[in-house]
Amino acid sequence: MAAPRSFLWSRRIFLTLLTGFVLLPVYVMLSSSLKPLQDVSGEFRWVPSGLTIRPYIDIWSTVPLAKYFVNSLIVAGAATVCSVVIAIFAAYGVSRYRFRGKRLFTVTVLSTQMFPGILFLLPLFLIYVNIGNATGIALFGSRIGLILTYLTFSLPFSIWMLIGYFESVPRDLDEAAMVDGCGPLGALFRVVVPAAVPGIVAVAVYAFMTAWGEVLFASVMTNDTTRTLAVGLKGYATQNDVYWNQVMAASLVVSVPVVAGFLLLQRYLVAGLTAGAVK
């Protein structure tokens, strides 16, 4: 059916306004990151008075940004890999087997999603300190503690999405693989996982973004050597002054990898959501 003219116009207006709203901070980030300091300290200007790439050079020395970057990469990367692997096993178990406690498991895991982070921040901190004292494994202040914490944040959503996704993979396929001599794990990795790649990519993207953007636990559970970007960006605000051009340059630099990765993989995310979250 051909859409009426009024529909086309209302669509054009709505989508234009929405695009403006969405891109406004992106424009501010980009334009301010190219301004000299006196320009960002005074009244806001839409058009920079002069362009400089100075902020992009200074960000690395004002705070140890490279170190924070590496820390964030290690923490978010490790949390993503662990979370995805664990979620694959759990989702396979739930989607392919009947067993006692299945419902309890899914309800328990899903309900952890509703816990406010603040509720277990301090207890978790105490647990990590105690485990550290008892076993010598430094969980508090180390990357491992943060990785462990972050991977459980994305786990419930990942398991939930993958259950839906695995259920859309015909059971006959992995049963046939088992008849042909694969074990259950062989069937999982040779048949179910390849068929569910979009869902797995979607879950991985979600896990990575969750870890990359987390602030609360990163500010309490890290020290000088393990600090992540989420906390490190605060360093551009000194007692007297905020280097807004550097803040914006650094924000842009830390955003580019995730945004680029996300936009490249967003097709998978949409496909994953269609099969997983919606059905």
């Binding site: 074990g183 960006l233 955003s255 996300f262």
Partner: protein, 329 residues
């Protein structure tokens, strides 16, 4: 990896075959154990990071836990329900502030979830049919979702600066709407600032989910409706919205929980202490625990918050049939 659980063909018919062979018994044990083994890592981690801390948090809420007892929290004296009665004594400062924070959070959550849902749904419906530039727009709309929270919210904080921010520049200098540049990050305006940032950040998720939901509506439904003479608006009312109901029920619940518990946005926007008008509950509890070093009271507030969320979610799941199916998985 071999399949030990497969019964050999014809084995059952063999005379004298009494009971399973040892090999088959281990196979059955393995088959029963397998699903549990598959779930074990997830379960252990959820226990370590969520459930055990939650139990400890509940215990802590009954203790008089100040900074003196942090090294050995077990030694902190029992407080009974003191922390709870302190938190819900709405005539005293602590309880009054908590109640205020709770109402602010409720109002904020309702407005934010409502606006996110509305923007996401309208955008998804407008973009249901293909047109030139649709793929590009979809990518643009996902940027707020993809940007790291702190980077995005710091940028908003810059835009809301009183003297060098874009918002005052437009409202005051360019449009002349205000007599003097306004404060956005302190005072009553901070609620508006927080809401704008929250909606900007949250609506793309609604857009994504609704868009995925729209793909599942069969085209034939629209064609049949068009033949029956239904216009655009009627098709949206009679087909699109009812078909989206199961999707919306999950979406609204997830948005509600995320928004209600959101810590990152106010923390990056305002720092450790939010202005009164935008004092969201998670920041309030953080402030009560970590800044004033009263972990017992903070824990009691957290436990009450969790109970509230459990009750609301429970009621919501009972009211929506989809909830029952989701819980069955």
């Amino acid at each position: 990896m071999t399949v030990t659980a497969q019964p050999a063909v014809g084995e059952e018919a063999l005379p004298g075959a009494t009971g399973p062979t040892p090999r088959r018994r281990t196979g059955r044990v393995r088959r029963i154990a397998l699903p549990y083994l598959l779930l074990l890592p997830a379960l252990l981690l959820e226990l370590l990071v969520h459930l055990v801390p939650m139990v400890i948090g509940i215990v802590m809420s009954f203790k008089e836990l100040t900074q003196f007892y942090i090294r050995d929290w077990g030694a902190a004296p029992w407080a009974g329900f003191d922390n709870y009665s302190l938190s819900v004594d709405f005539d005293a400062p602590v309880g009054e502030a908590l109640l205020h924070s709770f109402f602010v959070t409720c109002a904020f959550t309702v407005l934010s979830v409502g606006l996110c849902w509305l923007l996401g749904t309208v955008a998804a419906v407008y973009m249901q049919e293909t047109f030139r530039g649709r793929g590009f727009l979809r990518a643009v709309f996902l940027i707020p979702y993809a940007l790291p929270v702190y980077a995005a919210v710091i940028t908003w904080a810059f835009m809301f600066q009183r003297d060098n921010g874009l918002v005052n520049h437009v409202l005051h200098d360019q449009l002349g709407l205000t007599d003097s540049p306004s404060f956005w990050l302190i005072g009553d305006n901070s609620f508006v600032a927080l809401l704008v940032v929250s909606v900007w950040k949250g609506w793309p998720f609604a857009f994504l989910i609704v868009m995925a939901g729209l793909q599942n509506i069969p085209k034939e439904l629209y064609e049949a409706a068009a033949i029956d003479g239904a216009g655009m608006v009627q098709q949206i009312r009679r087909i699109t919205l009812p078909s989206l109901r199961p999707v919306n029920q999950v979406l609204v619940l997830v948005l509600f929980l995320w928004t209600f518990n959101d810590f990152n946005t106010p923390y990056v926007l305002f720092g450790q202490a939010a202005p009164e008008a935008a004092d969201l509950i998670s920041i309030h509890i953080y402030q009560s625990s970590f800044v004033t070093w009263n972990f017992g009271t903070g824990s009691a507030m957290s436990v009450m918050l969790l109970l509230f969320l459990l009750v609301v979610t429970g009621i919501y799941l009972v009211l929506t049939s989809r909830g029952r199916r989701a819980a069955d998985v």
